[in-house]
């Protein structure tokens, strides 16, 4: 039997159906109204430059069961509202429901005035001061830290430099070994003259990073996704979900030039973290210093941070209490999929409860 069997009238009908759906989709988009993200009520508790530290409010009549607050440290390369995208897709909401007191660092949108911010400024400066604020507020010496993606790498560095301030460390989809054979981003970064790039453009535009991320799977992410979308756009709820995600994908802050230079060189090009030679400012980063309990969560189908890049943490820390959690999904699905809502936040809550 021939593997393709087309009938011209079927092809015509298919094209016509597609065109009509596109029209309906346009109609839905016209009536959609503004897209809201970051749905859980929260209060700003500390601000510095463009950084805002938020504390999330608990659902009515639900006090945090766990007395040790948890600080979410998100990546610089995208906006942190991915952790609180919508009511039924919210890592933050899940953590609150698990009885945790949740704080989050929003790094903001760096501009030219932030060009000379270094990793030291981000990790030993901003992040450290946020931890101090939370410690003072709760009259505690240590808190729990949950780092996500690049924020996970920051959290590892922070916890290695300031172990006395971290009660428990959780890393989510976090690269530790930046040079696993399946790491496409890392392969591409190897021949980039990052000194030239930062000297030429100062801050690294979000648009350039977007291009990089989209070209990891260009035909799915730039083409097929939009062709498939016409099938869901008749449904206003589905259209809103799609638009939320779309907003997040293209909401990419520029990267402070010096921090970007350091991150690419130390982590992508020299793999300093795993080689034990990373330095943040005047501090050496030694994974041996991670003596607190560590929960390392990775996504088994992650195309941005391959699982092997995350699992490399095992056996390289100084802790006696290391746990791994594999989530069956991708880099984004780990925050927003229905499955993730049921699995990830409750697992984090239970793991922390056992160690409080």
């Amino acid at each position: 039997m021939s593997p393709v069997q087309f009938r011209p009238d079927h092809v015509t009908k298919e094209m016509l159906d597609y065109a009509k759906k596109l029209g309906e989709g346009m109609e839905t988009l016209s009536n959609l109204g503004p897209i809201e993200t970051g749905v859980t009520p929260r209060d700003s508790v500390y601000e510095e430059d463009k950084l805002v530290l938020y504390r999330y409010r608990h659902p009515i009549r639900k006090r945090p069961r766990n007395p040790v607050p948890v600080l979410i440290v998100y990546a610089l390369v995208n906006r942190p509202y991915m952790t609180d995208l919508q009511e039924n897709r919210s890592l933050v909401r899940g953590l609150l429901d698990a009885g945790l007191d949740v704080y989050l660092i929003d790094w903001g949108y760096p501009d030219r005035a932030d060009r000379f911010l270094t990793l030291d400024d981000y990790i030993n400066g901003y992040m450290n001061r946020c931890v101090d604020v939370i410690c003072r507020q709760h009259q505690r010496e240590r808190i729990n830290v949950l780092g996500i993606c690049q924020g996970g790498t920051f959290s590892l560095c922070y916890a290695a430099i300031h172990p006395h301030k971290v009660n428990n460390l959780i890393t989510m989809v976090t690269p530790i070994d930046f040079q696993t054979p399946d790491n496409m981003l890392s392969r591409w970064a190897q021949q980039i003259d990052v000194d030239l790039a930062v000297d030429a453009i100062g801050n690294v535009p979000g648009e350039l990073l977007n291009w990089t991320f989209l070209t990891l799977k260009p035909f799915r992410l730039m083409t097929q996704k939009y062709v498939d979308t016409v099938d869901i756009l008749r449904d206003e709820k589905a259209a809103k979900n799609f638009m939320r995600m779309e907003k997040w994908i293209f909401d990419s802050p520029d990267q402070a030039g010096e921090a970007f230079r350091e991150f690419v060189k130390q982590f992508f090009q020299q793999n300093c973290l795993i080689n034990g030679i990373a330095r943040i400012g005047e501090h050496e980063v030694k994974l041996d210093n991670l003596t607190m309990p560590v929960l390392n969560i990775y996504a088994s189908e992650d195309h941005l941070v391959p699982p092997a890049a995350s699992r490399a943490l095992k056996g390289r820390t100084g802790t006696q209490d290391y746990t791994e959690l594999a989530f069956s999904g991708g880099h984004i699905g780990i925050y927003v999929s229905a499955k993730a809502q049921k699995q990830v936040p409750p697992a984090i809550g239970a793991w922390l409860d056992e160690r409080t």
Partner: protein, 342 residues
């Protein structure tokens, strides 16, 4: 405007198109109709216009498949062997890729799938440099018909500068050389994409043969075929972009763009300086000094806070020590008395 208006528009368009005699029909009717439709109907609210533009652009890629198939059938009405026709279309597409990915080329619509990453890069490069990068493709030799242009340009750029404005001439010559170097690399990059595009078509053929050998159900929709092409394209792409060749090329392309951008900045700064206006260099110097000052200030604040904390602790200790020895003794005695078992 209701949904049915869109539907009515497309129904009417189809009737009009079908009423045309074959020679009068446009080459890519569906893609052309999509353009016409988007002109007739206003895009959604501005905040969604970008998304809709992306959907429209990718709808065209999809329609290109329909058009390609439709043309094959129209040309071979009496021999409707779908596989033969389809394979012939693929072969044509493969040959078309030799020229279609080059900027400004008249591309067969179906090659849009492989054009998109290149177009996105050109857009990003144009935004970064403020130059229309797609308009400069001839500078790097362009297609095989234009090496003379590149040679001429390189000779001109190598001419030594003379006289009072020699340094300025040299800066401009350097900029020109960097444009040529960038375009050369971009041409190499485009060539790599052409090869990947062809390989993806081969992969589609292989997949179809595998399906036939496995006795799987035939593909009977444009969408299913489109998905197969996307799958094959991703596979071929994923293999190539992990290779040493691609890593080198990607690095060279990025570095060439950044070198160009840096030279642009140098020239712009020189012009600003000549006009007694602040330059980027000066701004960066000031920002760096300011940043260092703020870092020092924050470090000092941190030290002051630590000293204040230490001072408060000391004050508590001093206050305790300053209490009369009797009071201290009395309290100590009381405390001992409390601890004493009864």
């Amino acid at each position: 405007m209701t949904n049915s208006v869109h539907g009515q528009w497309w129904d009417q368009w189809l009737r009009n198109w079908q009423a045309l005699a074959a020679p009068q029909r446009p080459e890519n009717p569906w893609a052309a109709a999509l353009d016409e439709w988007s002109r007739v109907f206003s895009p959604p609210t501005p905040s969604y216009a970008d998304v809709f533009a992306r959907m429209l652009a990718q709808g065209k890629s999809f329609f290109a498949f329909g058009d390609a198939l439709g043309q094959s059938f129209a040309a071979h009405d009496k021999t409707p062997d779908a596989q033969d026709l389809f394979l012939r279309s693929l072969e044509n597409l493969k040959q078309g890729l030799d020229t279609s990915l080059w900027p400004g080329a008249a591309a067969p619509a179906a090659s849009g799938l492989w054009q998109l990453p290149l177009e996105s890069w050109q857009h990003t490069a144009s935004t970064l440099t403020g130059m229309p990068m797609d308009a400069l493709h001839g500078a790097g030799g362009g297609t095989s018909t234009m090496p003379w242009m590149q040679q001429q340009l390189e000779r001109t750029l190598a001419t030594p500068g003379l006289g009072y404005t020699r340094e300025h001439q040299e800066q401009l010559q350097k900029l020109g050389s960097l444009i040529v170097a960038y375009q050369k690399t971009f041409n190499e990059y485009t060539l790599a994409y052409t090869k990947m595009g062809k390989r993806s078509i081969e992969r589609v053929k292989e997949r179809l043969n595998e399906r036939e050998a496995a006795g799987e159900a035939p593909i009977d929709s444009t969408k299913a075929l489109f998905d197969l092409w996307v799958d094959c394209s991703e596979e071929v792409y994923a293999d190539f972009v992990m290779s040493d060749d691609y890593v080198r090329l990607h690095g060279e392309l990025t570095n060439a763009l950044m070198a160009l951008k840096k030279q642009q900045r140098t020239i712009l700064d020189d012009s600003l300086e000549a006009m007694n206006l602040p330059t980027r260099r000066e701004m960066d110097t000031l920002l760096q000094r300011f940043h260092e000052t703020r870092r020092n200030e924050k470090a000092l604040q941190s030290e002051v806070r630590a000293l204040q904390t230490a001072q408060q602790a000391l004050q508590v200790q001093i206050a305790a020590l300053q209490k009369p020895p009797r009071a201290r003794k009395k309290r100590t005695t009381k405390a001992k008395a409390k601890k004493r078992p009864t």
